[in-house]
């Protein structure tokens, strides 16, 4: 077991069948920093290892999945459609904290992908059940 690979042991054949619960916690707005895009890259990589992956969106992270993003004029890649493609990689657990939406005047209808909206308390429970939590 190695820390650098999030606990996945790539050397040991016997360990290859172990499925862990991975949660990616997204708390940054999409274009002001590189965090959101980097998170998405790692999420897609994780899908290749057949792990139990979930994404949590809190604070400004909820802005990552807001509808209607058009980035042509800022000359950056609009990666928001990728969240809709996650389903194709069997990543279907997307959790959004209701308190973060409320604070920003957003509702589930403003989001471009199907998510499970939950309270902070429910989010805490979801986080505590994970084997590995990776924060962006």
């Amino acid at each position: 077991m190695t820390e650098s690979t999030g606990g996945i042991d790539f050397e040991d054949e016997d360990a290859s069948g172990v499925i862990k619960k991975f949660m990616f916690v997204n708390r940054k707005a999409p274009y002001g920093t590189i965090y959101a895009l980097e998170s998405l890259e790692v999420v897609l990589i994780s899908a290749a290892f057949d792990q139990d992956v979930s994404l949590a969106f809190l604070d400004d992270g909820v802005y990552q999945i807001v509808k209607g993003q058009h980035t042509k004029a800022i000359a950056m890649k609009n990666f928001s459609p990728t969240y809709r493609a996650l389903e194709g990689y069997d990543i279907e657990k997307l959790y959004v904290e209701k308190e973060s939406l409320d604070q920003r005047g957003l509702t589930e209808d403003d989001l471009l992908v199907d998510v499970q909206v939950m309270s902070s308390a429910e989010m805490a429970k979801m986080m505590s059940e994970q084997d590995v939590v990776i924060s962006f």
């Binding site: 707005a29 274009y31 400004d60 950056m76 005047g105």
Partner: protein, 101 residues
């Protein structure tokens, strides 16, 4: 003076600091760019601060950043939109500017 902000009002207190200072100057102008454009959107807990500021100074937001973040349909009335050319004009029109990092 032109005050430029580029950070989300939900992430730090830069907007508050800027407003605390800038609102004392009648000729001040505020330009929201990058993640600060979320402050230009309606229906959130920041809105009242911007509405208050609009009564005292001019408030601008960078349209390409609004568009990138999907905030086009939520902009608070009274905020003027500028493109990159407009950004340059604002810098040129004001005697000086302060980027609130």
């Amino acid at each position: 003076m032109l005050h430029i902000i580029n950070k989300s009002p939900f992430e730090n207190h830069t907007l508050d600091s800027c407003l605390r200072v800038a609102l004392n100057e009648p000729g001040a102008a505020l330009l929201l760019t990058e993640d600060a454009v979320y402050a230009a959107s309606k229906g959130n807990v920041i809105e009242s601060k911007i509405v208050d500021a609009l009564g005292k100074v001019k408030v601008y937001a960078l349209w390409p950043d609004i568009e990138a973040r999907g905030m086009q349909d939520r902009v608070i009335e009274g905020i003027k939109m500028v493109d990159y050319g407009g950004f340059v004009d604002l810098v040129a029109e004001h005697s000086n500017c302060q980027s609130w990092l």
